[in-house]
Amino acid sequence: MNTADPKIQQSLYARHEKIYPRQAHGRFARLRVLSILVLLGIFYGTPLLRWDGHQAVLFDLPARKFYIFGLTLWPQDFVYLAGLLIVAALSLFFFTALAGRIWCGYACPQTVWTEAYIWIERKIEGTRSQQMKRDKAAWSWDKFRVKAIKQTLWLVFSLWTGFTFVGFFTPINELAASFIGFNLGPWETFWIFFYGFATYGNAGWMREQVCEYMCPYARFQSAMFDNDTLIVAYDDMRGEPRGPRKRSVDKSAAGLGDCVDCTLCYQVCPTGIDIRDGLQYECIACSACIDACDEVMDKLGYDRGLIRYTTENAIQNKPSKILRPRIVIYAIILAIATITVFYDLSQRVALDLDVIRDRNQLYRETNEGLIENVYTLKILNMDDNPHAFILSVEGITDLELFTDVDNIYVNAGTVSELIVRLRADEANLSAQSASVSFRLQAQDANHLIVEEEARFLGPRK
């Protein structure tokens, strides 16, 4: 769809009218509820899990450490997080090409929370028609009461959401303790309200407008589509000409298609579109219209699937292919990226060594006539245990290494600095600058080993 078309732009920015989606019942509605409950459960439940004496998943910003179950990531490991994000993006591409906007319909936080807020709204305000009637009516005590209850529930739910969100970044039991004791820190308070307010606004008020105006994915997902992508579509060859009829009427004798023009598919749509107008940018593939239409078809004794999951090709009676170059290419890229990230992660060494040359002096000549270079070593022990380390260096014949401590001992999760002097005979230096390689090895753990290159400078040759 060409979003640069001024007409579409006009309609995109048109005045908004509230959409009252009617509740859909059916197999996809159940699947959606299941998916939404699981995802909400994961969000609200994860910060409460414990692992080895700490919160299982904690992006501990104050301490600058990310705990993900058994794994502890440091700012140095940022590249793994970036890698995981790339894998997530590639999976989104892959699944979009394969199955269209299933992400939008079943898993996007926008959808998940919107459905939760709509659920609360329905519990308090009643069905679609009750809501529409009440909103049209003048303000009354009853209207005020109903609205006030809904807003209160929405706000409480938002605050809980904001609280849980902050609980991913600061230990949630401390957070809960200070929350109960009314002594939350100013920043935590701020973020709870900020995130809670964002949830309240997006899921309570903005809803489908987030998808239409704000979501980047919604804008570019069509680039991943082809005629074999799974979409929700109306079979107009079967449905048209549409029109109401009595159940007793023989449709072919009356010259009618299967669509009885009950507009239920439109009434259930959370984005307020009529799927019978064809594939539209607004459609988030929530499949509510499939359920609504199937129910009608069942009542009339017609076959289900006038609106169904299908492909552009299938609707036009052409064969659909699952394996096609686009899918294969996305799959290969995704597989390579996933394997790379997880392999690298499995090879990750919880030890980091930084070598910094002394900036004041290029080199020094000792009394014995040797050339000396001085370095500062920063040792970061990212392991969960303290370790003693053995330091060695190579790269120049008879290179000697001196440190100002006898034992290199670094506590768990801390950085230690060490001054190191290297001495070499000038005769063994073939150039003004030579490369040396430090090797640091934990005494009690073979896998904790790192090497780091550095320059050794001597007199001009």
Binding site: Y13, L61, W187, Y213, M214
Partner: protein, 96 residues
């Protein structure tokens, strides 16, 4: 064509297109920046402010947000002011 002049974009949408993309960029920028720099090592002039680490992240986030919002706003301004129309207005004022 992509001529959006003459079209009234509601104020609310203007806010969305300025504040929202910059918000996303600010999250990325904050993540990148603070994974490279530890706020507790960042107080350059021994500032006498009592601010904890989370506060520093928050401040950084809002600075990034503000900067990218300015950029978005300028982009929006350029996109909705039609240069050809300005040009036409100017030439109609000239004597010829």
């Amino acid at each position: 064509m992509n001529d959006m002049s003459g079209m009234q974009i509601p104020f609310r949408q203007k806010c969305i297109v300025t504040l929202w993309p910059s918000f996303m960029i600010a999250i990325v920028a904050t993540g990148l920046f603070f994974s490279a720099f530890d706020p507790s090592e960042l107080y350059p002039y021994n500032l006498d402010i009592e601010i904890n680490v989370v506060g520093a992240y928050t401040l950084g986030f809002f600075i990034f947000w503000a900067l990218s919002a300015i950029s978005s706003a300028i982009t929006l301004y350029f996109a909705i002011t039609n240069c050809r129309k300005i040009h036409a207005d100017q030439s109609s004022h000239s004597p010829s």
